[in-house]
Amino acid sequence: MTVDLMPMLPEIFLLTAACVVLLIDVFSKDFDRQLTYRLAQLSLLVTGIMVIAQFPDLQYHLYQRHFILDPMAGMVKISVIALTMVAMIFARPYILQRPILRGEYFILHLFAVLGMMVLAGGGSLLTLYLGLELLSLSLYALVAMHRHSTLSSEAAVKYFVMGAIASGFLLYGMSMVYGITGKIHITDIALYLEANEASLTLRFGLVFMVVAMAFKFGAVPFQMWVPDVYHGAPTSVTAFIASAPKIAAFALLIRILGYGFEQILIDWQSMLIIIATLSMVVGNIVALAQDNIKRLLAYSAIAHVGYFLLGIIAGNGAGYSAAFFYIIAYAIMSLGGFGCLIYLAKGKQEVSLISEFKGLGQRSPWGGLLISILFLSMAGLPPFVGFWAKLEVIRAVLDVGLVWLAILAAVMSIVGLFYYLKVVKTIFFDQPENESKVKAERGLRLALGISGIAVVALGLFPAQLLEACRQAFQYL
């Protein structure tokens, strides 16, 4: 029996490339790790081209149905690769000046991307878990990169312990599901649920899996690790964690809840409603009190997870595509937002307090403008992409008649606007404390420019992306 490996070519290529780059890095005498960086970017680029070249027009279940190739997987892979490439551009100048300049930094990114690609195409609980673990382990190592910093080490330990517990929950839930249904494939579970009544134990397993996923997303009440990890990790790592993995986690959520457990939507919907409500409320309100910019962004991330879940709660194709659009938009904004912090970091000095943004509008007009655009977009103001994301999720919950949830989202976005405005205010209205200009590398400016332009361009012309998100769920 011959097996056609072509559908998995991007993953296989990336795996090979990552191993080769790892070897080259070991023997390379390049002190700046320039070679490793370039090779890593090149492998991602080639992988991306492969994914685009074989972009599926239908849904294929391959390799004993452990692997799904469909438009959603394609979209997730493309966006993950693109975001990671931008994240690496951000990271390059940042790690050059810090004791985390190691070839592994980039190679771990490659493995994380591989994990996310496996996750996106996971057709069974096993593949999903495999992808998730590959992603998580790479991320733990990345957070711990700065090993002489106590803050970083603390963050890494927290992240690891919390993440491990969450993985344990997920696995426990999966084993229960497997025990009841005897099925490991998503599609089989869905068929089982169509034919049989869901037993209490099965629902119990579902609860464990939802909890684990809420952990991974950092949704309230499982959000405790988010601010500490975002704060403690090197900023370039935070930028990465806050962007691409969110999209991959979305794929996990959709594959399990949307494809597998759609029959008992009513069960997980009510859980998600509680989680989303709490996330929006707690994230936004606690963010008001932050004066550390990384923690502020961390709480705002929690709040955004709440909004994003609104689309999932709707539990239909339109809702999922709204959530997909939201999470892509958010990943771009959040990558840009943390990228700005890298941009502002002077030498080894980190930006930590909002007050360090004072007078940025005068010191560096372009930088100030870009940051403001990103923040106003996160607040959901038109004509930026964040507006369409909000519009989509609000429409999704209105579709299923949850008017109160839409109104709550609206109220909470007013609260959100307040702290985003606080940052914009600091940038433009406060007098600068020093006149030092912000000097930044060309690569950094390029990456920031890309995210800024993406936010504005997708804000003015969101039609294509919205359509693509819709296409991704036509085989649901």
Binding site: L381, I407, A410, L417, F418, K425, A463, L466, E467
Partner: protein, 505 residues
């Protein structure tokens, strides 16, 4: 040939893109180029809007100069621009005021002038967009996007307490409009289209209408502003630079009134009938109570700000009184009054804020107590201000009279008590307007600084005389304006008096 051009798109995008070009092109380094380009763009915009008026057909209520193209097909959101008799006067007003603000800014703004130009131009374009948009989401995009330049305008060039004022302004307006967004999405789903004309036709139950109406009310009442959500306005006005105050008073407040006419009345007629009582009550409170508050002000800008709120009370009164009227003629008179009041208030309050700016540029004080006897050193200015003050008080022969007169007459046919309370404004407005005039302009020369004041410069003269001529022209001969609006207003009355519950559904 001109008919084929997308004039409305030009009216929006020429100033917006021009503003961006000024900010990132010549900037402050080549200030004289920035100034010239900015004013040229302002003139082009004004000329385009004049051409629009000239080519406008006054005998139909249909939308004119329609531009429609796909924007977001998956959500049925379209890029659709068109104008009718309500939008046109507001667009002309916007373009005119925008240009005047630019002209006056060349002298009075000292720091980062090119960015100021850019902000004003972008606002002009976006406000034109608000009045021209025929797709609800497009409307919302313009409505919100306009907050950003205004936020910066107050925050960068404003007075000492500007940050508090601008954040309050932003949050208040955003608070209002986010609920409107939810309502718009809700209706867009039901109608499967976001075109405003489709939303107006959409049958809705009374409960739905009530909620949607309240959502709209929050947005428009904050903007216009109605008592009791008016508190952001005095703060924003006092701290804003002259140009910011002028744009706020002359145009942004009108967006609220425009919203009532375009959305509230036709989309939720039954809810309007249900709540009209309260709205009229709040309008009367605004007219009387805010009028009294204005009387007590020590700060000139605050005084004019409060008087704006009182005047906008007439707009809301005229809009909602139609529920209690039966004759078509009286109803259309009420709405005419509301519209004329909006345009007139745009000119008068703009002129008043410009005048305060003239004084402030020389004395750096807005306190009434710092002035006195200005007439001795600034006779031309004093006579111009006299005209504006009298127009503010509603003197016959000025534009201020026409709108108030129409609204009072119309409300008299509904209930004489409403008319009587509204009529109190004639006393109150005269009292606070004339009293402040007396304290600032007449009397003994208050101090050395006042004695050394120079009269208006050529530039200021250009701005103030333009407004003075228009105020008198509109006061003496408002007929052309009314003719433009009449068919569109009748159409609104038709849909506002037709119940959506029994009739269509």
């Amino acid at each position: 040939m001109l008919e084929q051009l997308p004039i409305l798109s030009f009216l929006i995008w020429i100033p917006v893109i021009g503003g961006l070009v000024i900010m990132f092109g010549p900037g402050d380094r080549l200030l004289s180029i920035s100034q010239r380009v900015g004013i040229l763009l302002g003139i082009i915009t004004l000329l385009l809007s004049c051409w629009l008026t000239w080519a406008f057909a006054t005998n139909t209520a249909d939308m004119q100069f329609v531009e429609a193209s796909r924007w977001i097909p998956s959500l049925n959101i379209r890029y659709e621009l068109a104008i009718d008799g309500i939008s046109l006067p507001l667009i002309v007003l916007t373009s005119l005021i925008g240009l005047l603000v630019l002209i006056s800014a060349t002298a009075s703004i000292k720091k980062r002038q090119s960015q100021y130009f850019a902000a004003v131009l972008m606002m002009t374009g976006l406000m034109n967009g608000v009045f021209a948009a025929q797709d609800a989401i497009l409307f919302y995009v313009f409505w919100e996007a306009m907050l950003i330049p205004m936020f910066l305008l107050i925050g960068i060039w404003g007075g000492p307490n500007r940050i508090y004022a601008t954040v309050k302004f932003f949050l208040f307006t955003f608070f209002g409009s986010i609920f409107m967004l939810v309502a718009l999405i809700y209706m867009g789903r039901e109608a499967d289209s976001f075109a405003i004309s489709d939303l107006q036709k959409l049958p809705l139950s009374l409960t739905e209408q009530k909620w949607i109406f309240l959502a709209f009310l929050l947005a428009f009442a904050v903007k216009i502003p109605m008592f009791p959500v008016h508190t952001w306005l005095p703060d924003a006005h006092v701290e804003a630079p002259t140009g910011g105050s002028v744009i706020l008073a002359a145009i942004m407040l009108k967006m609220g009134g425009y919203g009532f006419l375009r959305f509230s009345l036709p989309v939720t007629p039954d809810a309007v009938a249900e709540y009209a009582y309260w709205l009229i009550l709040f309008s009367l409170i605004a007219i009387v109570y805010i009028g009294l508050v204005a009387l007590a002000q020590k700060d000139m800008k605050k005084l004019i700000a409060y008087s704006s709120i009182a005047h906008m009370g007439f707009v809301t009164l005229g809009t909602f009184i139609i529920v209690y009227l039966t004759a078509m003629q009286a109803q259309s008179m009420a709405l005419q009054g509301a519209m004329v009041q909006m345009i007139s208030h745009g000119l008068v309050s703009g002129a008043l804020f410009f005048s305060i700016g003239v004084l402030y540029d020389r004395m750096h004080s807005r306190d009434i107590a710092d002035y006195g006897g200005v007439v001795n050193s600034m006779p031309v200015f004093a006579s111009l201000l006299m005209l504006f003050i009298l127009a503010n008080a509603g003197l016959p022969g000025t534009s201020g009279f026409v709108g108030e007169f129409f609204v009072i007459i119309a409300s008299f046919q509904a209930d004489w008590r409403i008319a009587m309370v509204a009529g109190l404004t004639l006393i109150l407005a005269a009292a606070y307007s004339l009293w402040v005039y007396k304290r600032v302009i007449f009397g003994k020369t208050a101090n050395e600084a006042v004695a050394r004041l120079d009269d208006v410069t050529k530039r200021e003269r250009l701005v103030l005389f333009t407004l003075a001529i228009l105020i008198i022209a509109l006061g003496v001969y408002p007929q052309p304006l009314i003719e433009i609006m009449q068919p569109s207003l009748e159409k609104i009355i038709e849909s506002a008096t037709l119940s959506k519950i029994g009739g269509i559904g």
